[in-house]
Amino acid sequence: MKNDEIVGLLKGEFGEAVKASAELSGDLTVKVDLSKLHEILQFLRSCPSLEFDYLPFMTAIDYSVYPKPKTKEAEAKLKEVKTKEEKIKEDEEKLTEAKEEEAESLKEEIQKLKEEIVKAKEEAEKLKEEAKEEEREKQFDVVYQLRSIKHSHDIRIKAEVGEEDIVESATDIWSSTGCDECEIYDMFGIKFKNHPDLRRILMPEDWVGHPYRKDYPLKGKEGDDEYLDTRLPEGQLKKPEHTRMP
């Protein structure tokens, strides 16, 4: 099945819950609403013409420090407008004192600047509207990469998730999501309901914090070494020399 057919099928079934779709270097990506996420996944698995039976991976992305170039551009444009307005004021002050010949050139300059300001303001507003796409309500994205072995096509499903949200587990659809959901819970702190065994799998079970979040420092937190020292094996007298990346 072709990518646009899949999107059409999804949109026909779920309407507004399918927010956006894009093709990124050949991979079809569809953004969906979190409240309908589980239903959509179930539909993708069970619909006979789609039948996504294989899940290569699922993961989460922390978007809290993702750059927003268009918002930045809009801000820069607004700054430009401000500096030009100040220049007009300066010129108008000069105009009161200036002679006739100079006055005419100044007037022309002011006229030019005013036109430029109008243009810049329009552009800034356009950019602001475009920048709205970059704005996110929630911090994380959950990503499901799906594949159909029978029909040999791929799709990627994304849904925005906040820290407080609880995502419905997909273990009843694909068993392989079990370990991936554990990893996401461990590394990002996103909780899943109806999961048979949700636990920290890579970090120790009493570890505080979620390492793959963007606010977690790369070299670990300050108390980490003490945490490790308190959990030395029995009979080990010499404390290990903790090495951190310089």
């Binding site: 990506t29 290569p56 068993s175 120790p204």
Partner: protein, 391 residues
């Protein structure tokens, strides 16, 4: 006669220092007599946070770290990572480099399968094949040493080609290897395949059926051992695989013996691919795309070095904003890189999809209801490496 009124469930801890777990894996087994009722895999003993590290390194700096994922098939890891970056950047690779890549990838596949065969035989109790397979693997490692100077952590493939051209001595060694290896492979084959102890330890053990194998996300030889005809080299072709002639072995039984036979046949198919590559490889030409920003920029003539070359090395090659997923067929299964780029020289987020991670968590469903003596052979047949599981 003493009647047993009730049976008690026993919990046994296996690992992390268990030779049959191929690393630092730990499994908590719940036993009812000799029957396994439940397995709880516990991992994380080798967790290094590679995905977090990748976010703080340039694409090129992360190259040597990728070797440390599946440390018995580093060449294949390198290739998968480079192909993912090339997909993100839209880069082209010269023809000779493509052939070199296939050569080393298939050699890496053979080396990885040889380690698997030796250790699996050792785990089940046949010690002799271990020495034969490690002898053959040694010749492959000598070849890798010849072209890139390292035995295990190669760091050889580059975005846009490979880091060094192959030498005439390498080609000589390769031709010699292709002549002798199939004969040597028959030794291990003769020792194991028809051996009755081997067959009784592996046949009808650790069965996973077609639907379960797909649902639990198995990949590579484990998936094909359950009758699924799926290979990324055929179904999502990359490199010059479409122009090569090879078969995908798959067997419907889904037991340890089927996975064993699939891997053995894969070794033969790899030899077949290697033979074609040796014939077809162009004798001259670039081994690296000269327009690639990753081409050794500092090795230009002296007047050619500019400040921008320094900046390129330190800040990294700027990839276009977007996201990409690329999965390559590794010896263990599908190794995929999901890269989210924000337009900087470092990835914003990198998820590494490793086959072993999925296989470890599919173990409970495979061994449930089996005997405790069989868990070792099932673990070996799934062939996981804990460098990949914990990342």
């Amino acid at each position: 006669m003493i009647g047993i009124e009730e049976t008690k469930r026993v919990r046994i801890n296996m690992g992390p220092q268990h030779p049959a777990t191929h690393g630092v894996g730990r499994f908590i087994l719940t036993l009812n007599g000799e029957i396994i009722e439940d397995v709880k895999p516990i991992c994380g003993y080798l967790h290094r946070g590679l995905e977090k590290l990748a976010e703080n390194m340039t694409y090129q700096q992360f190259m040597p770290i990728v070797d440390r994922l599946d440390y018995v098939a580093s060449m294949n890891n390198d290739l998968a990572y480079c192909l993912a970056i090339e997909k993100l950047l839209g880069m082209e690779v010269p023809e000779r480099a493509e052939y070199i890549r296939i050569l080393i990838a298939e050699l890496g596949r053979i080396a990885s399968h040889l380690i698997w065969l030796g250790t699996m035989a050792l785990d089940i109790g046949a010690m002799t094949p271990y020495f034969y397979t490690f002898r053959d693997r040694e010749t492959i490692y000598d070849m890798f040493e010849e072209i890139c100077g390292a035995r295990l952590m190669y760091n050889y493939v580059r975005m846009g080609g490979v880091s060094n051209d192959i030498t005439p001595k390498f080609m000589e060694m390769l031709k010699h290897f292709l002549d002798t290896f199939p004969k040597l492979m028959k030794e291990s084959d003769g020792l194991l395949t028809k051996n009755r102890i081997w067959m009784s330890r592996t046949k009808d053990v650790g069965v996973i059926n077609y639907d379960d194998a797909i649902s639990w996300g198995l990949s590579g030889p484990c998936l094909r051992g359950s009758g699924v005809n799926w290979d990324l080299r055929k179904n999502r072709p990359y490199g010059i695989y479409p122009s090569l002639d090879f078969d995908i072995p798959y067997l419907p039984e889904g037991d340890v013996y089927a996975r064993y036979l699939v891997r053995l046949e894969e070794i033969n198919q790899s030899v077949r691919i290697l033979r074609q590559c040796v014939e077809k490889i162009p004798s001259g030409g670039d081994y690296m795309n000269p327009e690639s920003p990753f081409v050794r920029p500092m090795k230009k003539p002296k007047e050619g070095i500019a400040l921008k070359d320094f900046v390129l090395q330190i800040r990294g090659v700027k990839a276009p904003a977007g996201e990409v997923y690329f999965g390559a067929e590794n010896p263990k299964g599908e190794l995929g890189f999901y890269i989210v780029s924000d337009g900087a020289g470092k990835p914003y987020r990198m998820k590494i999809r490793t086959p072993s991670f999925v296989h470890v968590f599919a173990l409970p469903v495979i061994v449930k209801g089996g005997l405790i003596a069989d868990i070792v052979s099932v673990i070996s047949s799934l062939d996981f490496v804990f460098g990949e599981v914990d990342r």
